[in-house]
């Protein structure tokens, strides 16, 4: 792999994005921008109750409303349920409870927003008007929404087969060894934590257009997806039983995902199914209120953690118990989030020798929970970094020193953790040192003192994290319960004139693949950046793909493209050897030119491409014409980005308002192709993390199960004036097992930041006696904590 080519578009350069012209001029094509001839509009009537029996649905009046083409209920739906993509087994070996999930409820609704009827009309206004006239008789049932209370006696039961609402009761690690270590601990730090439920809130609401072609029997689904091939597989094979060759899934420009557009949603199946029924295209577009009731949500873990330390402050054991809320149904990847994406990271960046974790997943009468930016790793990082911080306070060991004392040293890689993973590379001291310097750690106390003079409480917090991404080795995830492989496909088509189209199974919904992958190909093949086009998002164009999530696009998808280019170069060398009448072994390829060792003979990449397609002078008996190669890359391991985040806050004790005044992120993400895009990914992730720490929370009414934060009037999205500018740097060690050395950057910001923010808030509040606070640390919560601590002090 070439190092920085020194050009403005090569690997390591930051050319302006190819995507931007169309987005900036309003010429992007998002799913809701697509209209098919004869199109109808779907409106989904959703349950107003968290838990109820459907006694009767009367659609007679609604069917007579103007413009109505059809109305379907659960009784009409004759296809399969939406499957789960990952199976977890409980401690006792039994498989998780997998309830059916039909796109239209048959007899019972299980969360507010559950799908009751599908109304199809000539316009969306007519569909809404008709839905108003559907008369549903419900018998309301008690609901359970609390994560911590779902498995307790007396809780309402969501599914008859899931006793105590338990989906699975899983564990990992060596319990006996952990118990033994705790028995001889010098100090034990204990902490109870809630990682609150979040709504991902990609700015583009989900949408889907189903289009059935009566002439060919083919279905096309346009959808807001991060992985169109996965949708084709799940919906085609499991839900609607449409074979792949009769089903095309197109995910055009997609306006953000953050995990929420990975999953196969039942609305996709409904519009596809209904388009065949009504013999017209069917379009459904979510509005934002509907998104809050139907997009898979994230996090929602309740944990108890204990860390055992010896007299020198070395971590000798860790014990964690987590309850994870799955919601009412199992979304595509839901079971793997609190288990294999979370508990396997409990070693963090530390040498803790023995770890034991128990994870119980519970059903509740809430929207399904699944992967949201970071998916399991933010939860673990928050737990670990809050715990380590508390241990430092309790033992009196400086919090940076305590971390250093327990770091996995850079000489220890590859490093086998006690919870299944083997880290390939890292240098935690280096990212820590750089972050401390950039974040002004050494002279922070001066700033605290200065703030105090202004009546403000200032604090600084740190988080040293690692995550596992670049998912993933198929054999490994298969053994852990994944029902799919997690390789990626890349296809490189060199055209006769030497321009190149790259087909990737990953999907870009903000990440800038059209630019980054073009840099990679341009740099490697020596063709102009402008002559490389990257295509994604259409199952009829792309051979196959597993899509974009888990920060995998460059590490896995980019590696597939590299493998395809290796094949291109190997074939091109044979053509070049023929043209120059030399031996293939003597051909070198560099900067777009083939040369013969020890001579001044050369042919350009363009000449070779033309020869491949106009094979007049060609080794035709040995080599096929054409220059196009496909590669599937299955990674050998996860990748392990890591780093240090430092946050500085200022709190107004009169109002409880917390202002983030400084944020520094130093991340080790392996090889960087486009630093501009990398920094943008970190900025966005960090602000989502600040959002979790200070602003965002999905709140359900505990009695009725109504979502209390169902719009942007109630759910506090971070806005420009809530956050500071962010200092970003990378300090990379290379991934050792993929051809690029890249680790992934999409999620690091959201993983490392929340504990840094909360540790800063607690550092600020320490002088007034506050030692604990939960996310989001809203002004109200901070103010109350200050008041309570004040009262407690006064009572002493």
């Amino acid at each position: 792999m070439a190092a920085d080519s020194g050009t403005a578009t090569g690997i390591g350069a930051s050319p302006k994005r190819k995507e931007d012209f169309r987005f900036l001029t309003g010429r992007g094509t998002y799913t809701d921008d697509i209209n098919r001839p004869g199109q109808t509009y779907a409106y989904i009537l959703r349950s107003p109750h968290a838990h109820a029996e459907i006694v009767k649905i009367d659609t007679a009046k609604a069917k007579g409303m103007p413009g109505v083409a059809a109305i379907f209920t659960g009784a009409d739906y004759d296809k399969g349920g939406v499957p789960c993509g990952w199976q977890i087994h409980s401690k006792d070996g039994s498989p998780m409870i997998e309830p059916p999930h039909f796109p239209l409820c048959k007899d019972r609704v299980r969360h507010v927003g559950d799908q009751v009827a599908l109304v199809i009309a000539n316009s969306i206004a007519e569909a809404r008007d008709a839905a108003e006239e559907i008369d549903v008789t419900y018998k309301e049932l008690p609901a359970i929404v609390s994560t911590g209370a779902a498995d307790k006696a007396g809780a309402a039961q969501v599914w008859p087969d899931a006793k105590n609402n338990t989906c699975f009761d899983w564990h990992i690690g060596d319990k006996a060894a952990v118990d033994a270590a705790f028995a001889k601990a010098h100090h034990v730090t204990k902490l109870d934590l809630i990682n609150q439920r979040l709504a991902p809130n990609a700015m583009e609401p989900r949408a889907a257009v189903g289009d059935y072609d009566r002439a060919t029997g083919e279905y096309t689904l346009y959808t807001t997806s991060q992985n169109p091939h996965v949708i084709r597989l799940l919906m085609g094979a499991f839900v609607l039983q449409i074979p792949e060759h009769k089903l095309r899934v197109v995910a055009p420009d997609v306006g953000g995902g953050f995990g929420s557009k990975i999953f196969h949603y039942s609305e996709e199946a409904l519009v596809t199914w209904a388009s065949e029924k009504v013999r017209r295209p069917v379009k459904w577009t979510s509005d934002r209120s509907e998104a809050f009731l139907s997009d898979a949500q994230g996090r929602d873990h309740v944990s108890h953690a204990e860390l055992a330390l010896d007299k020198d402050g070395k971590f000798i054991a860790l014990r964690v118990n987590t309850i994870a809320n799955m919601g009412a149904y199992l979304s595509t990847f839901a079971p793997c989030v609190p288990t294999y994406l979370s508990a396997t990271l409990l070693a963090g960046v530390y040498t803790t020798p023995v770890i034991y974790a128990e994870v119980k997943a519970v059903f509740t009468n809430t929207v399904a929970v699944d992967a949201y930016r970071g998916a399991g790793r933010p939860e673990t990082t928050y737990l670990l970094e809050r715990l380590v911080e508390k241990a430092a306070r309790e033992t009196g060991i400086d919090r940076v020193e305590l971390r250093r004392r327990n770091f996995i040293p850079k000489t220890a890689f590859p490093y086998q953790t006690p919870v299944a993973l083997q880290y390939d590379s890292g240098d935690y001291e280096a990212t820590l040192d750089l972050a401390l310097k950039m974040g002004g750690w050494a002279d922070f106390e001066n700033r605290r003192a200065e703030a105090q003079k202004r009546g403000k409480l200032r604090g600084i917090g740190i988080s040293t994290y690692i995550e596992a991404c670049g998912i993933a080795p198929s054999a490994v995830v298969g053994s852990l319960g994944a029902r799919a492989g997690l390789y990626e496909c890349g296809q490189v088509r060199v055209h006769p004139t030497g321009s190149v189209t790259v087909f990737t199974g990953t999907h870009s919904h903000g990440q800038g693949h059209e630019t980054t992958f073009a840099q990679l190909v341009s740099d490697t093949l020596g063709v102009p950046f402008e002559s490389v086009e990257v295509s994604h998002g259409d199952t009829n164009k792309i051979p196959f793909g597993m899509g974009t999530y888990g920060s995998r696009s460059l590490a896995v998808g980019g590696s597939a493209i590299v493998k395809a280019m290796d094949k291109i170069i190997a074939k091109a060398k044979r053509i070049a050897a023929h043209l120059m009448e030399a031996s293939v072994a003597d051909i070198d390829f560099k900067n777009g030119e083939f040369t013969v060792k020890g001579t001044d003979k050369k042919v350009s990449f363009g000449q070779v491409a033309l020869t491949a397609y106009v094979p007049h002078n060609y080794p035709i008996t040995e080599l096929e014409p054409g220059l196009e190669e496909t590669a599937f890359y299955d990674p050998l391991n996860f990748t392990y980005p890591g780093g240090t985040h430092i946050c500085e806050v200022e709190i107004d004790p009169e109002t409880g308002v917390t202002q983030v005044v400084n944020f520094t992120a130093v991340d080790d993400i392996g090889r960087v192709i486009n630093p501009m895009i990398v920094e943008g990914q970190v900025h966005g992730g960090v602000v989502q993390g600040i959002g979790q720490a200070l602003l965002e929370n999905c709140a359900y009414d505990q009695e009725t199960g109504q979502l209390l934060t169902g719009s942007y009037m109630d759910y506090t999205m971070p806005r420009a004036d809530d956050v500071p500018s962010i200092k970003v740097a990378t300090h990379s060690t290379m991934c050792t097992h993929n051809p690029l050395g890249s680790k992934g950057v999409g999620e690091v910001g959201a993983i490392g930041s929340p504990p840094a923010v909360i540790n800063a808030v607690l550092d600020a509040l320490r002088p007034v006696g506050v030692t604990d606070i939960s996310m989001p640390a809203t002004p109200h919560k901070v103010w109350q904590a200050i008041q309570s601590a004040g009262k407690a002090k006064a009572a002493e």
Binding site: L24, T25, R27, M203, S711
Partner: protein, 159 residues
């Protein structure tokens, strides 16, 4: 159905619409100007921001019939052929967009925010963008872009 006439991106348009039609749906569905996006249903996110008579307006919050006779500019009307408006150019130069969905509204708001003002501070820009939500960028590069776009417009490149 009432008839609505307005000038959109310099072109006179006229159409019969249901009285309940929002400006954003008139633009997207009737005029097929799909660059203006709908990101929420409570006038909070600003993805639908356009200019009405030169001022930024959330087009999800106005009925088309209210704006009979208005001059409307959408994101499609900013560039001059392939030459971007300085604010669009600044967003591209500063990586002020990722998925692009909030971008049209963000650019329209930004132009209105900086018009006729010089040397806006970072905190003034942040406060001025409060009505536009972006989930991708963390606002860092948007703030830089707005500053750069404002400077370019001040330097006389703006319209």
């Amino acid at each position: 159905m009432p008839t609505v006439k307005m000038t959109v991106n310099g072109k006179a348009v006229s159409a019969d619409v249901e009285a309940r039609t929002l400006l954003v749906h008139f633009l997207r569905d009737t005029l097929e100007l799909t660059g203006t996006h709908v990101g929420c249903d409570t006038a909070q996110c600003g993805a639908c921001t356009v200019h009405v008579n030169g001022k930024a307006v959330k087009s999800c919050n106005a009925l088309a019939v209210q704006l009979d006779g208005a001059q409307v500019t959408t994101i499609e009307g900013l560039a001059n052929g392939d030459t971007l408006h300085p604010m669009q150019e600044a967003f591209r130069d500063n990586h002020g967009l990722q998925c692009g969905f909030c971008t049209p509204g963000m650019v329209m708001s930004a132009i209105d925010l900086v018009q006729g003002k010089s040397n806006l501070s970072e905190s003034e820009i942040r406060a001025g963008l409060e009505g536009n939500i972006c989930r991708c960028t963390g606002y860092h590069n948007i703030v830089k872009a707005v500053k750069a776009g404002a400077d370019a417009m001040q330097a006389g490149k703006g319209r």
